[in-house]
């Protein structure tokens, strides 16, 4: 922990000097614990801490940008910022429009959560965030898909009874299910569905140099175990380590 705080301080210093190349990283700020806006109004979360550390290792000067999820890829491609760290799963479809670094979270499970563990997820009304791999999975499963702009609206829809289940990253749903006092439970047999190729940082396809830098930084963090420490810190025991 102390090392990380030092890292942040060092980053602040180097930012002040303005020597390094500036990289703007976009995040959604509404997907705890991956990324969130904390009570001081600043971006925070696993990816923010990770991103700052990666930038330090790659000797880049990073700033954070908040952007809505549904326009996050198009704004990357129109060069409003240079990278995305927003819990974005690596998929074949997305690879056609952006380049991904190697994953910084191993392929994770998605899960269905619902008030009733016995709900049949292939016929129910299922809520998911718009243009996520989960939304696509639901659409292909034949279930009735309700799309929401933010993940917590999707969860809210289940609480209000508009949808019978919500489908999202398991890590995102864990605290919600645990703190719901039984109002939300995992759907039986549907609480661990591997989707995608893990979560990675998205970059423009033309930015090969930047991709190499971040890839190297991620490798170094995997090698010395700091990435696993970070995952354990933010995701607790449920987190999948390298």
């Amino acid at each position: 922990m102390n090392r990380l705080m030092l890292a942040a301080a060092a980053l602040a210093l180097s930012a002040g000097m303005g020597m390094a190349q500036t990289v703007r990283i976009a995040t959604e700020g509404a997907y705890p614990p991956y990324n969130l806006v904390n009570d001081a109004g600043e971006v925070d979360g696993f990816e923010v801490e990770l991103g700052n550390e990666l930038c330090k290792r790659a000797e880049l000067d990073c700033t954070w940008v908040k952007n809505d999820w549904d326009s996050i890829i198009s704004n990357l491609n129109s060069s409003n910022y240079d990278a995305i760290m927003a819990g974005m799963s690596i998929t074949e479809e997305r690879k056609q429009s952006v380049a991904f670094t190697q994953n910084y979270i191993p392929p994770t499970a998605s899960a269905y959560a619902a008030p009733d563990a016995g709900v049949d997820v292939t016929t129910a009304v299922v809520a998911a965030q718009i243009s996520t791999i989960q939304a696509q999975y639901v659409a292909e499963s034949g279930a009735r898909l309700l799309e929401f702009a933010t993940p917590d609206e999707a969860v809210g829809a289940v609480r209000d009874g508009q949808a019978e289940a919500v489908f999202a990253d398991r890590d995102f749903l864990v605290p919600i299910v645990n703190e719901s006092n039984g109002a939300m439970v995992w759907v039986e047999g549907q609480d661990n569905i591997p989707l995608g190729e893990g979560i990675g940082m998205a970059l423009r396809q033309s930015d090969t140099e930047l991709k190499a830098k971040f890839d190297a930084a991620i490798t170094s963090m995997k090698d010395d175990g700091t990435l696993n420490q970070l995952i354990s810190k933010w995701f607790g025991e449920e987190g999948v380590l390298y």
């Binding site: 500036t22 705890p32 009570d39 109004g41 000067d61 129109s78 919600i176 703190e179």
Partner: protein, 292 residues
């Protein structure tokens, strides 16, 4: 903020609420009301200017200019404003960067690479090394331009109508005094048209107030953004966990807007009374009768 708020988990009742309402995130929420007011304060004069230009163009003797004015003033009638709001900022951003790329970049590198719109570092607007507030201001400025274009067209409609409503006799009198067309415009037409334009402009101001939440659609962090962010239910990953409170935040916003429109109406009533005095209109006549 307040020293006793250091550990929100131990607080209860009113103190908890006090600490909650003064958290950094809430301060940003309160400041975003300022964003709305700034948008109004900047957009209104700019839109009026655009409108003035549009109305003058529609009255122009030069045919192409007149057509341009007519198209500009009638486009907002046929097309929903939100489409302009979605389209104009992206289009402007790409246009600016394209122009700058022509100036500063190696012309052999294409700007559209497949799906991507890439300009070299020097042509980025704003430069990626510039601080965050520059980016925010730039985004806000694009929003202002989009608003000004749409409301300028509305204003052009109103002003054009007001210019034609000025009694012909007054202009002819001025001509009889030997004033040139430009002098007639400046000394008679423009001062006299305000009383006819005011009802329309007042209405326009109301529409503008009620269009400000669309800033949210443009990705500006306005009151709607923060209300949704703050009101969404929070797990214990946050210092102040709570359920879904969005409805309270939206009620606060509703109250803000009702206050704004109600206050504006009061003010316009006063201006209307002032402008009506001495005019050859029903309201002016009523005031004259009341005075004698």
């Amino acid at each position: 903020m307040i020293a006793s708020c250091a550990d929100p988990k131990t607080l209860e009742g009113l103190t908890w609420l006090m600490c909650y309402l003064t958290s950094g995130k809430h301060v940003l929420f309160y400041l975003s009301f300022g964003t709305v007011l700034v948008l109004l304060a900047v957009t209104a004069p700019v839109a009026l200017l655009f409108g003035f230009g549009g109305a003058m163009a529609s009255r122009s003797r030069l045919a192409p200019l007149r057509w341009f004015g007519r198209i500009y003033t009638s486009m907002v009638r046929g097309v929903p404003d939100i489409i302009f709001f979605l389209f104009v900022p992206i289009a402007l951003d790409q246009a600016f960067e394209w122009l700058r790329a022509r100036l500063y970049c190696d012309p052999s590198v294409p700007i559209r690479q497949g799906n991507e719109f890439v300009v070299c570092t020097a042509a980025k607007l704003p430069l990626s090394s510039s601080p965050e507030w520059v980016h925010q201001t730039y985004g806000f400025a694009l929003a202002v331009i989009a608003f000004a274009i749409v409301f300028g067209a509305f204003a052009a409609n109103v002003l054009y109508g007001a210019m034609t409503a000025v009694p012909r006799a007054q202009l002819e009198t001025a001509e009889a005094y030997g004033m040139s067309p430009r002098q007639v415009n400046r000394r008679i037409l423009i001062p006299q048209m305000w009383t006819y334009a005011l009802p329309g402009l007042a209405n326009l101001w109301m529409i503008l107030i009620k269009a400000t939440p669309l800033l949210f659609v443009l990705g500006v962090e306005d009151i709607v953004y923060w209300a949704r962010e703050l009101g969404a239910s929070k797990t214990s990953a946050y210092s102040y966990p709570h359920g879904d409170w969005r409805i309270y935040y939206f009620l606060a916003i509703l109250a803000f807007y009702l206050l704004m429109t109600w206050g504006s109406e009061r003010i316009f009533d006063r201006i209307r009374r002032r402008l009506s005095s001495g005019q050859a209109t029903a309201a002016g006549e009523a005031m004259r009768k009341a005075a004698t």
